[in-house]
Point group: C2
Chain length 718, copies 2
């Protein structure tokens, strides 16, 4: 309670900071010899991002369904380009041609043992207009039937096995219970891992098809009132989504590592489906309304009780003739054109880029995901435009990206990043936002070198709840601690008392930047109860009823995002914290060593541990140097070293089975997808108890840490 | 796993023990100078209790609904009396006249804000005959409509508030949320406390009525398959039950402390309802089928998420005009005759009784509750009958009781115990069984002085799962430990590595014996998944499908119960363990002192703590003396002291607000009902942060412990 009170005092001073340009005192900010000039630009920027305008952007962007490559998607590209231009950005629309599937026919039927039809779907998404006003967006004829991006076409009929969340552990549990999924259709619920991973494992085990449904226990009535009464998923709402094998690589399935520019010759495309990141079996999402009749009629053994969801019957595992499902999916696969919108603000250094991006395409209307982020980004750009008119020119070049086809597998960002791999090899940061605003709770993930940077900018932005964004963020996490465990992804953060910042896994556009190219990245957004993810109901109506009726969190998001860009573009010395990075890597290694010991593996951690210590020591020396920058002294060599130290953590060979992922410290897990695996080569080697592989990956990690340490040592004059 | 293996070896030897009368070696058993003669009687007894005969008893006893006081109940009394007599017991049917309500009209209706009818019930209990064969017992016209024993009559209409389990904590949470239950009908779910306590608290807060439903999260489809597919509660099944204010006193509401014999003059009956243990507001149980339309239409605030059950909608708190419920209950209250069956085996000492009992009356058919216990008890009696024919005569007098009207509030046992208070003041034990067999998992509760006694007899009985009952019991608890916390009631047991034995709370017939009269008691039974408690479906069909198809657990139960009786009747020295009793009381006091300190109370524990130490030390000395009984030496003075040490723990003034409860160490909690509160005077004083009351109760406790210690010291010759 004392903490809250002192936060309140902090708030008032922070609010005061932007109520007047005259600053009594300028705070010391990491990376600046003198923050006073930056403080003035910050103060000029802060009042510009406008809640009402953000609301207007959101309304315009979400007026129509705008699936990637559709004419409506192109309209949103034109809108964003217009706003970029209006702010004074050098703007272009950059097209790519990527392989996308569009559903032609989606038919799912279920029959009982006597052949009686149990369901025939998918049922269109619909809420009753008599209930709480219904939803005026739901009947648009341009809404595609709910489908999975990257699903194969297929016409299969099979018995059904229920596999809970479809994690590797769940499939292993079925093995232990002697339930085979071979030649079955696997029914899984959303949650716990990335949907493409569910299909990846099911396919490896010989399943004929996969159905993925949303259980009300996870984002429906159990969590709270369903839309339109509340924010959670109603009976008919379906979570669309890509089942691409994202942990292998993202982007256009036919062009890993190269850009799918319109003029790319077909000869450069992969043609062997076995080498692609695409499932070979059909899969489709279902509402619980459509899944319930299937699940209810399964017999076979009682499911483990922790597999029971919230549907009003007892879940069984199936695998018998009690239910047969017929899935007939026709996917129209072809190369389709998508459109990134790129806006540049040239800086003094044309070669040092600060990239900030958000995707624009949506499964349907995409109010929260992603256009709450787009609306905020447009107001960030609006703010920077005002600075440009006031004569500001950033030290570094700023590049905004409005990515397309993220939903299909990070396509717009991946293809653009692959096109600009050379420039990005020395880009100083990538700032991502995807869901900009789903509610009032700010949250972030970042590489350790940028965690303190994110905390710092949030201390400058007032929260609509009072205090600063930082204060409220801390408050949320401390309040939440009583009710739930701290998320596992945060357990390595050395500053345990401070706000915890997550680890970058995958599932959004930072992946090509950090994990393929080594650009230090962050991902920010404001969260809340949000049960309509990837359904028709993620629309403007839902947003103004549930997420942010007055768009004040949109304004907050625009400000935090803007300060990230401003500070990274203008700092004297790049504000990377390699001290924290070093200590986190040290704890990753300690934990991996414990796991290897428990698995009785024969691997030698000593070289990696020594390298990690060297890296941490070099990081600490660099941090001291960064903490006292001298005005007038050329910071360029130090900055180059700081940036190259991250690149040095890439291993050009990439990870086993997935060479596109080159970062030695972070990757999406092969069997998690969304969630990061830290020191992935090492940890996934341990998962498979593979001594040789683990040792090779430890060696590669040691080499990377030594390379990076050497660069930092060079900068510190050692 | 090593443990299981060694258990298996133990099993074989235990099984061998009873496969031949010739015993190679006789174990040392607490209370016996020489166990060899007892071992022979045990060996003669063990083969007699018969699985098939137990099944026949059960089938006969549960052939018809036999609600207490009904003609069918009387038929079961005659059957039990006949079996007692056949075994050679001195048998009598003992009638009492007690106040019982029988439902004349039970009408529950719900309406929405527009007056549209949402439900009209109660709906008769029914499962579809097409599903897994249905149930042939369900349509008997003698089944009473589901009702609450002790409910008031009433015709009330009111808005509805949902109060979760209706615990004190739940009602306090409603207070914190500014939801008043005054003049409302409170809808609560079964679980967490005794149903009478739900009504007790609701009435205190001004509610007009109470509806109590069974949520499928607690004993329905969430737990596993519903009947007839599996053992859990189907949609229409209702948990009947008494809402008597049992924590005030049990038994005939009009005669606390005295026996309701047929000739008791009316002048000795209480006539002031305010002084009785009866609610003044109407209450009724509901199936979830009938409760769902009410709960689903409640608006008002979202309920705390942990209050959400498993019905397929989001639970709200109500308290608004969105739903009105009309309850019209007409209860025919009158003095009705009930019939205990008492069977005696006179021992050498006619004044030292070993009492063993089980109730016989049922809400409907009562296959599990209580007649699985009755069937087993009849096979115990069968076994003792065979011993009698072989010339056995027990040292002490054995009394079997087949109690009536337990379901209405422990009436048959309480009235009989009150009638025999003088004899029972020196009865050496009361052994209870209620649910004898609901499944394969043996469990027990006991006063600490009899915990080791229970463990000992279970080591002599083979389990149908292999090994002894004791082995399997230990195994269940260790297996369960991975999945669930050890039950809180067991946390005081000093032998933490051994099987944990519960504390006696209330809800069955041991209450008058231990808590009113100070007769050392145990309660045993074999548990399992059992979701049809107090519904029509607790019948013979359910039992043979789910609990014990071949009646081998009935046989086990008869054997364990029989060995309890045999050993207690024939031991040289009474096998009470006051050493453990002392250590448990010590830990109760330590915990209470911590609670008082946390509540910043001004109370002095020193006298009580000193007395507890004295009691423990005396107990330890007595234990040493008991451990080495010498054959031929008169054990009578030691035995008298051991027995009187328990009586000395009674406080004649009883507990504050509830003088009928006289035991200073154990009582049902005023706000829990089923669950025991230990050193109840002290702990409930602390609950209310009442310094004076707590201090007075500490003083009474100290006095009781000193009295008891002095008796034990006397016996030990100190």
């Amino acid at each position: 309670m004392t903490r809250s009170f002192s936060n309140f005092l902090l708030v008032s001073s922070a609010a005061a900071l932007f109520s007047t340009v005259a600053l009594a005192q300028t705070p010391r900010v990491f990376g600046y010899a003198d923050f006073s000039q930056q403080a003035k630009w910050d103060a000029a920027f802060m009042p510009v991002p406008d809640a009402k305008l953000a609301g207007e952007h959101l309304k315009t962007l979400t007026a129509e369904p705008h699936w990637a490559s559709s004419p409506e998607d192109h309209k949103t590209a034109l809108y964003v380009a217009e706003k970029f231009k209006a702010a004074g950005l050098q703007t272009e629309i950059v097209p790519f041609r990527v392989l996308l599937n569009k559903p032609v026919k989606i038919e799912i039927e279920a029959f009982d043992a006597q052949g009686k039809k149990l369901m025939s779907g998918p049922t269109p998404e619909h809420v009753d207009p008599k209930e709480y006003g219904g939803d005026s967006f739901q009947d648009d004829p341009r809404i595609l039937p709910a489908f999975n991006g990257s699903s194969a076409s297929g016409d299969v009929t099979a018995e059904v096995v229920y596999a809970n969340y479809g994690t590797l552990e769940d499939f292993k549990k079925l093995d232990a219970l002697n339930i085979s999924v071979k030649d079955k259709i696997v029914l899984v619920r959303y949650g716990a891992n990335f949907r493409g991973v569910k299909v990846y494992i099911a396919q490896q085990r010989g399943a004929k098809g996969v159905l993925i449904y949303s259980d009300p226990a996870d984002d429906g009535y159990t969590r709270g009132d369903a839309y339109p009464r509340g924010p959670f998923r109603p009976a008919s709402a379906v979570q669309r989504g890509s089942v691409q094998f994202l942990p292998l690589y993202p982007g256009d399935p036919e062009t890993p590592g190269i850009a799918s520019t319109p003029d790319l010759p077909d000869s450069q495309r992969i043609t062997d489906p076995a080498k692609m990141n695409q499932p070979s079996i059909p899969s489709n999402p279902l509402s619980y309304q459509d899944a319930a009749p299937i699940l209810q009629h399964l017999d076979g053994p009682l499911s483990p009780r922790e597999w029971q969801g919230a549907l009003p019957f007892t879940y069984h595992l199936g695998g018998t003739a009690s239910v047969k499902v017929h899935m007939h999916l026709e996917q129209d696969y072809k190369l389709r054109t998508i459109w990134d919108v790129i806006g540049k603000i040239p800086g003094d250094d044309p070669n040092a880029w600060v990239v900030a991006g958000n995707h624009r395409d949506a499964w349907v209307y995409g109010a929260v995901d992603p256009n709450s982020g787009t609306a905020a980004m447009l107001e960030t750009v609006h703010g920077l435009g005002v600075l440009l008119k006031q004569g500001w020119k950033p030290k570094r070049t700023i590049v905004f990206g409005s990515w397309d086809a993220e939903e299909e597998g990070l396509m717009g960002s991946t293809e653009w990043a692959e096109m600009h791999a050379a420039e990005l090899s020395h880009a100083v940061a990538y700032f991502n936002t995807d869901v900009g605003v789903a509610g009032p709770n700010f949250d972030a993930s970042a590489v350790p070198s940028l965690k303190e940077f994110v905390r710092e900018v949030t201390r400058e932005v007032p929260s609509p709840k009072g205090g600063t964004v930082y204060d409220q963020w801390l408050n949320d996490q401390h309040e939440g601690a009583g009710r739930r465990k701290a998320p596992a992804r945060n357990r390595h953060d050395a500053n345990a008392e401070d706000v915890q910042i997550g680890t970058l896994g995958s599932g959004s556009d930072y992946t090509p930047f950090i994990q393929h190219l080594g650009v230090p990245s962050t991902d920010i957004g404001s969260q809340g109860p949000y049960g309509v993810y990837h359904s028709t109901f993620d629309d403007y109506n839902w947003f103004i009823r549930n997420a942010d009726p007055t768009f004040v969190y949109e304004q907050q998001q625009a400000r935090v995002f803007g300060l990230e860009v401003l500070h990274m573009a203008d700092a004297d010395v790049l504000p990377y914290d390699y001290k924290l990075y070093g200590s986190e890597i040290g704890s990753y290694l300690t934990e991996a060593r414990t796991r290897a010991t428990e698995a009785k593996m024969q691997v030698d951690f000593s070289a990696a541990a020594t390298a990690a210590k060297r890296f941490a020591a070099a990081g600490e020396r660099a941090y001291r140097l960064q903490s006292a920058p001298t005005q007038g002294v050329d910071a360029a060599p130090l900055n180059a070293a700081l940036r190259n130290a991250e690149s040095a953590l890439l291993n050009d060979a990439g990870l086993p089975k997935r060479p596109w992922f080159k970062h030695t410290i972070y990757a999406p897990g092969e069997f998690t997808g969304y969630a990061a695996v830290v020191i992935p080569g090492v940890n996934e080697g341990i998962d498979e108890a593979d001594n040789a592989r683990t040792q090779a990956q430890l060696d590669a990690l040691a080499a990377a840490l030594n390379r990076s340490a050497a660069i930092l040592e060079g900068a510190a004059g050692l």
